[in-house]
Symmetry: C2
């Protein structure tokens, strides 16, 4: 793939709207991306839509072909909506789309660093009575841990059944994500990294993570660091989330902590994420943390804010810092105005929220 394009090179995006509310929210993200690009005078954004997800599987029997994967590799970045059928749709084997599409993309495109910022935006209501000033980033490993699918089962369906799941952790995978966390922390005001794991129980993986953090920390004397067990981390995320700056953790703990983080910062409707290929050997992918919400799909009820914030992460990663900054600012003032207008409930349509945010650029 081409080197990361600068603002004078067109940015060529693949758009995977997916299922449920996915296409609706990515449409608004594209709208805002284009508006921001025009506003700052960056080179244009081109998009190619890919039809993938549960509906596509039902229609074609395909999750993600090698050919589609090859075409996706040719883009500068991927904007992803959400995938997954309704929970009661028994035609689709459970978890199939998540694994054979979403996780396959993360693994095949080597998205080793999963960035998930958590901020309590001005005017947004947290379920905590004293949330404080929350502004941290979870740097989640994205290609290892218990997500590798290396489990199995024997004597299935008998009283002697044994089912295993294997968490795989490599020095290669752990080091690159820990390095990313320290580099990120070095550029933030508080310059602090917290490793979250459960090393008192998961000793082998835990020792690798701890040793790696100690080694990388030695290269960043200005960045302080500490350690927290994952169970204790859920307590602090609930009682004092403002204490965190950068959290680095494995794939499963990162999955759990970022949903909790989204909850305490006012909901999964605002949580953005970037699945980053830091070597640049394949396109990175940006997606809201929320799911496909089939119950409200096609009704213009979904809040596109998480998708729009994910597109700001995309711009940042693509070297378009000024456009990214503008999108973030537009979102913040939109959120602040929602609050003034009497609460954060979205009475506007999905497209209206997109229009309003685009209009602020």
């Amino acid at each position: 793939p081409a080197p990361t394009p600068g603002p004078t090179t067109p940015l060529d995006l693949a758009v995977i709207g997916g299922d449920g509310i996915g296409p609706e929210v990515t449409a608004e993200a594209v709208k805002v991306l284009r508006a921001a690009t025009e506003a700052v005078g960056d080179a244009e954004i081109t998009t190619t839509d890919y039809s993938l997800g549960a509906a596509h599987w039902l229609a074609t029997g395909e999750t993600l072909t090698d050919e589609t994967l090859d075409r996706l590799r040719g883009h500068d970045a991927i904007l992803f909506g959400a995938v997954g059928a309704a929970p009661n749709d028994t035609r689709i084997p459970s978890g199939l789309i998540e694994r054979d599409l979403l996780l396959k993309l993360r693994f095949t495109l080597d998205h080793g660093v999963n960035l998930r910022p958590s901020r309590l935006y001005p005017g947004v209501v947290s379920p905590l009575s004293a949330p404080g000033d929350i502004d941290f980033v979870v740097v989640r490993e994205g290609t290892e841990g218990p997500y590798v699918g290396n489990g199995g089962a024997i004597r299935t369906g008998t009283p002697q059944e044994i089912a295993t799941e294997v968490s795989v952790n490599t020095a290669f995978g752990v080091e690159r994500v820990v390095r990313h966390a320290f580099a990120l922390a070095a550029g933030r005001p508080r310059q602090h990294v917290t490793l979250v794991h459960k090393h008192n129980v998961l000793v082998h993986a835990g020792h690798l993570w701890r040793r790696t953090v100690e080694a990388v920390a030695a290269e960043y004397p200005q960045v302080s660091h500490d350690y927290m067990h994952v169970d204790a981390a859920t307590i602090f995320l609930t009682t004092d989330p403002a204490r965190f700056d950068v959290i680095v953790t494995d794939n499963l703990f990162g999955d759990i902590l970022t949903d909790l983080a989204a909850a305490v910062t006012g909901g999964i409707g605002l949580a953005a994420s970037g699945n980053v290929n830091i070597a640049g050997s394949a396109p990175s992918m940006f997606e809201p943390v929320h799911g496909s919400a089939p119950d409200i799909a096609g009704q213009q009820k979904a809040d596109p804010t998480a998708a729009i914030l994910s597109s700001a992460l995309l711009l940042e990663q693509a070297g378009r810092a000024e456009a990214a900054r503008r999108v973030n600012e537009a979102v913040w003032s939109d959120l602040a105005e929602r609050a003034t207008a009497g609460g954060q409930s979205v009475s506007r349509s999905t497209a209206q929220v997109g229009d309003d945010i685009a209009g602020r650029l």
Copy 2:
């Protein structure tokens, strides 16, 4: 071991105070156990103290000998405080005491069912602004999952290091804990079980858990059930914890969810637990969820409430329902009075809280 003693048979307890605040809080639990026993006229409680934990290891180099384990097996139940040295005490290999003492007890004494009730007691302040009426029980598997220690590492310390952790799940282990959850739910007003797992990613273990829940649910037509991914569960525990009745889950997810549950119900200082051997083949063990808190050890600053509530679970499990009920009631009125007295901060000494609760029996 003898069959579960009734109120007319003496109850023979092993007491493992452990480290830090452990001995202080178990002393109060014993005080309250005795007072409740006397108040309802049950047969006496006899106790034997065991010196185990980090301090014991430093003094003797022993974590838990076969001989001690044999003696422990002879008791009706075990009251456990907390173990673990100060985090910065480098003389003790990290996690050693947790694994070779606490987890060894849970595994060797076959504590397959780890009961962790979560209640927002009247007068206790939750960090949530609208917690609702929280009253659920997490039924955590206690002898399997990623806790089995079946991991390993190769090429340790090199750039090619690979460290694995294996989660082991058996039909035997899963079925008994799921059965316990349904039986428990059947006796509660709302009669509902929620399975928490991550079956879309951890497919093999996930399928075993789901199939087992479906099979057991068929035997309890009056008990409703649903399923929730662990990441989503953290959201609901933060935004609507009152929705839960009985949660059944694996060892690691249970560890994480119960700390979060403790946080939303006003803190780990109130969270009780019982590690139950449901076959009665070895003594069950009752312990507060909190740790040894070395920073406040020996200062009579610790809140013994979680240890006292754990002793109520012990009484219940030992068939001493009336004494258990009295202990719970005494704790609730103590908590309510703390609130009236202007907040839940414990200005009383550890012993004073124990005295006050015992005095209410």
